[in-house]
Subunit: 448 residues, 2 copies
Amino acid sequence: MSKPTPISGFPEWAPPQRMIEQYVVDRIRNTFELYGFAPLETRAVEPLDQLLRKGETSKEVYLISRLQEEGAPPSGEGALGLHFDLTVPFARYVLENAGRLQFPFRRYQIQKVWRGERPQEGRYREFLQADIDIVDRDTLSSHHEAEIPLVLGDALGGLPLGGSDGRLPILVQVNNRKILEGFYRGLGLADPLAALRAVDRLDRIGPDRVAALLAETAGATEAQAKACLALAEIAAPDPSFAEAVQALGVTDPLLDEGLAELVAVMENAVAHAPGLCVADLRIARGLDYYTGTVYETQLRGYERFGSVSSGGRYDNLASDGNARFPGVGISIGVTRLLGLLFGAGALSISRSVPTCVLVALADEERRPESNRIADALRRRGIPTEVSPSAAKYGKQIRYAERRGIPYVWFPGVDGIGDEVKDIRSGEQVGAVPEVWQPPAADLRPTIA
Amino acid sequence: MSKPTPISGFPEWAPPQRMIEQYVVDRIRNTFELYGFAPLETRAVEPLDQLLRKGETSKEVYLISRLQEEGAPPSGEGALGLHFDLTVPFARYVLENAGRLQFPFRRYQIQKVWRGERPQEGRYREFLQADIDIVDRDTLSSHHEAEIPLVLGDALGGLPLGGSDGRLPILVQVNNRKILEGFYRGLGLADPLAALRAVDRLDRIGPDRVAALLAETAGATEAQAKACLALAEIAAPDPSFAEAVQALGVTDPLLDEGLAELVAVMENAVAHAPGLCVADLRIARGLDYYTGTVYETQLRGYERFGSVSSGGRYDNLASDGNARFPGVGISIGVTRLLGLLFGAGALSISRSVPTCVLVALADEERRPESNRIADALRRRGIPTEVSPSAAKYGKQIRYAERRGIPYVWFPGVDGIGDEVKDIRSGEQVGAVPEVWQPPAADLRPTIA
């Protein structure tokens, strides 16, 4: 077997990075549960026709086929593909199980997703996402839209991963599609969606080309294009954005509805997490299915990499003709976030294994004694290994050193009791496995 | 969109079941870390030629292909398939990263795997596995083979999931391939592997047909077949099995080596976890790559469903011509285990959401006040939701009841302080969100 090589777009973290990822995922999950979201995992595959309902992503889908079925076209009837996000499978799950669920239904879902995109920095073909959504039957109160960014702020903002105050510095940009559509309609544009798509490209192509696009695809006059761009310039860390919008002199009932909803989101954000959110009127989210509040999230200092978490309100994703299930949610790109932070060297962990104590071995015949000591330590929750060989003690200590294991335990001999050595300081003290306790900071690997 | 339907072989647990699964996985993971295993996740896909190295499973592989690449044969050069276990990807990972790893390398891996098999009870097309392996470079000491079942015993045996003592009743059946091959060789059979494959079918086809198969495929005489079956009859909960084997009068150096190794495994098991293991000489594990100790695990009372965890020692799975990486490991079939227990109605959880407290809402205008209370409770680690609507209190209490949320919090009004009601007992007491603490048993959902 020749030496295997990585596959582009399918990252594999080394164990120390995987420990950091687990820490981040545990923290996210714990936050989601503190807000009462229940866990769900859906299967990795969906019927291809489900995945293609949103035309935009059709090119990115991975199809699956059974090897012995070769010859059958994998995209024919009954074809299955790997999910490319967790929202489409969740909408399908809600429809399938509506009779068994309690609404409003709050769920979180942390799973890998797959996209056949060309890999590049921050973009993968296999990556981990962490989603929350709240769906209700028929109608969904808009106050849920104000809750979502707070959950995100607690989940990510609380991570001790950089930032001048030791916390992950995130900024949630919030907007409302009703403001954009209402404003464009109030301006007299016949195709508000075309205008929205044009403005959505502002960051990539700049104001001049957006103005040209507005004229071309939405039939905007110069004055209308200017007003669209003026709206997109508005941003504020509090509800004051609404006055700036009203000062543009456009009126429309949908615009008023959107302004009221975004004001409520920003009031709630200012009350509970000042500095977390900014009302940013240029955020549009290209995906067709958002109908109200939309979110994007920048990691301060890493803005060039784009959003690490995004989502919004959707009213038409799950509907079976009889019932409609409007929802709101957000998705954290865990792999993207960690890829950026690993790439910047912003994260490290205190050791490469969970082990806190290595029990040394005087000779192979005395392995049962070392096993008993390890057993006693583990029963008290202390991660412990026994030395794999009865090499010289210096070599056993190097085994621990190379992995960052902080303590080596020496079983007693000839009437002398056990001793444990902190191999960082060299300090060695007498110890009893049923009693000895490492400092709390040494029990598990810590992240810096 | 018409109502979607399940896909056979791709189970989806409801949120309460998913909470149980998470509990089980957390417990397994914690045990693996207590023994110093470091976490790893490998990508879901492997090159098809890697997956097909073990011919036996070739029919079960799912191929993936990008939708826009349709037409290209998915099984051609560079083809990718979904992994069908975690051992083959791990062996590949070790070869790819050998220069960066410290040996012996202890890792655990908990991931979904996919097999295109016909679904049936206890057999899925997508399922979760939890694996540990220890690999070393060039040589691997056999004492590691004695450690593996103890990790399994702690990980599964400690689960409070049934059993007369409230613990999951598992029995690890252990054997050693060297005993079987050495015994058959010592008997004078020219093709020990053919004999092994025949005896491996004992449970399915019975002794008479195994005897016929031994004659047919391994050229066994009647006396040789009888000896093979006599060996397979031996089982003991301690090292005494060795005397029973020796009493059959067959001698061979490989047989002696295997007996010594299995005696060591059983001595260690009796010392640390009496009753956990049985030396069962009929266990063979059909897969070609095992070369020493092999494990299977029965759930007592559910033996008809087969093994819920299996593995063994392998010497030839990872080798790149220069170096060899022998290993030993075991895999827990988490989905199979839970599927059996869910199917038997053996598991339940105290509520269907993580939420401990529902904060009631007097009217929609006072939502900020209820949000503040929820915030204070969450900051102290108490999972809390705010009522989705300011319906009558009776309706809000029913919202909690339907989900099993034990407490409803009533914000104070008109100078009267907050009160919290245990809706199971009806008891209602004054409370302050910065101080009130639920009983520990109510903080998180509990499993029964």
